[in-house]
Amino acid sequence: MEVSACADCGHLFLPPGPCCPRCWSRRLAARAVSGNGRVWSFATYRRTYHPAMPAPYVVALVELDEGPRLISNVVGCAPEDVAIDMPVRVRFEEVGEFTLPRFEPLSGGGRS
């Protein structure tokens, strides 16, 4: 997994953009991160908004160990088993033409 890194101030951030959101430097690079993080908060959808995402499912704000946060899903466990501060690890899933970074419990056996 990669995040954006500022070559001038060292700030790591998501999503990628045209400049560093902290110092506005345009000298940016991709940096590999562990793909490990924690659930910062989460929401359990009990209503289906789109047929491609049938409820129930969990949308989480995940904080990577290296700092950046991103919206993703927690998969690989029941919605009832998700908790704030739960350690999670990224797993990439092919969805149509896209590859989505989703997260599963770190203790969940690593099915990626």
């Binding site: 359990t44 209503r47 789109h50 499912y57 704030i84």
Partner: protein, 377 residues
């Protein structure tokens, strides 16, 4: 002193589902009501600021909302514009009107919110860019993240969110134009369907067709009106545009910055507020604001609202017209109007005795934008 901005007139339509009426029609009705209430004629209006709702949108092709509404109202103002700040938009345009009037850019500024959100397209199932790929749809999802985090950090319970919903309906039962006038009990709240946990259906605001307007002018200009003009004592905005990276996203709203600024300008403190009109797109936002405006300590909003404290007869009346949860979705302008009514002593059997200071807030675009007004007599 004579250029102090005041709200001299208020007006609104009914709120509900009106599939046979356009947003323009609703806005024209609200505008006329507000200008008449201010004791002014259409020709007196030389400022127009608009907050078109999410469904109507700010642009029709290349024509901005203010231009189309201004043309329909026959206005040739010296100051105009439209704002898209989500739920902060209506409070923000009243603030901008106050600044314009105080600066002498116009004398009488009409501020209009309107939308056909209930009869129009489904703009409330939206996703934002890449996040929609994860099923992150709707404002409810974002506020559910905030609610879950608050519950985790502070032990806030579903019953605390329920206090907000129950109080809103108890007030709305006293509001003839309210969209939801039926009483709501805690048991019914707790039994309502989960939408995006931890939020239930009854944690979510209404969707409405309707329009609301106010006229901001100078104290001097309003002096001859038969209706009391309500001074704008303080105002501020604060925004959190860096979303999830921002320290005041979820853990504290931008209200924690705009609140102290507006209170400071007004020369009042939270303890001076007699009635609080707090933007209530979701119940959790009311709890967050009670903390971020300083009515209680961070994390204490749940216990603070227990026992009907913010409802009728409580020590801090909040959203005395039922707000977005029960009165109708008025973009935040109905909150401004209710503040004016309370300070005029016009609020009927929901009147807060001796109301002299009112706080009005707007909160929008998820958790990004915030605007604050302090009104007082």
């Amino acid at each position: 002193m004579s250029r102090r901005a005041v709200i001299a007139g208020v007006g609104h339509t009914a709120f509900g589902k009106f599939p046979d009426r356009t947003a323009w029609d609703l806005e024209a009705e609200a505008a006329a009501a507000a200008v008449a209430d201010a004791g002014l004629r259409p020709a007196d209006v030389d400022g127009l600021l608009t907050d078109p709702g999410a469904v109507q949108g700010i642009l029709d092709g290349i024509t901005p909302h203010f231009l189309r509404l201004g043309a329909q109202l026959g206005l040739d103002p010296t100051y105009t514009g439209s704002e898209i700040l989500g739920g902060a938009g209506s409070v923000a345009i009243v603030e901008r009107a106050a600044l314009a009037v105080e600066a002498g850019l116009c004398e009488a500024c009409l501020c209009v919110y309107g939308d056909s959100a209930l009869s129009g397209a489904d703009a409330y199932g939206y996703g934002r860019g890449d996040e929609a790929a994860f099923g992150f749809f709707g404002a409810a999802g974002l506020h559910a993240l905030a609610a879950r985090r608050h519950m985790h950090r502070y032990g806030t319970r579903p019953e605390h969110l329920g206090e907000v919903a129950v109080a809103a309906r108890a007030y709305a039962a006293r509001v003839p134009h309210a969209q939801k006038r039926g009483a709501l009990g805690m048991d019914e709240y707790l039994a309502s369907d989960p939408i995006v946990e931890p939020l239930r259906r009854l944690d979510c605001c209404l969707v409405s067709d309707g329009a609301a307007a106010v006229v901001v002018t100078t104290a001097e200009r309003a002096a001859g009106s038969r209706r009391p003009a309500i001074p704008i004592l303080g105002h501020a905005q604060a925004h959190s545009l860096s979303t999830y990276a921002s320290p005041d996203h979820f853990d504290a709203l931008p209200a924690s910055r705009s609140g102290p600024e507006a209170f400071g300008r007004a020369g009042v403190a939270p303890a001076d507020v007699d009635v609080a009109l707090l933007y209530d797109c979701f119940t959790i936002v009311v709890l967050l604001q009670l903390e971020d405006y300083g009515f209680c300590e961070k994390g204490e909003a749940g216990p603070f609202v227990e026992g009907g404290r913010i409802g009728p007869g409580g020590s801090l009346p909040v959203n005395t017209s039922g707000g977005l949860l029960a009165e109708g979705y008025g973009g935040g302008m109905l909150h401004v109007i209710e503040a004016v009514r309370q300070l005029r002593g016009d609020a009927g059997d929901r009147q807060v005795a001796d109301a002299e200071v009112a706080l009005v807030s707007g909160h929008g675009l998820g958790m990004n934008t915030h605007a604050t007004l302090v009104l007082g007599v």
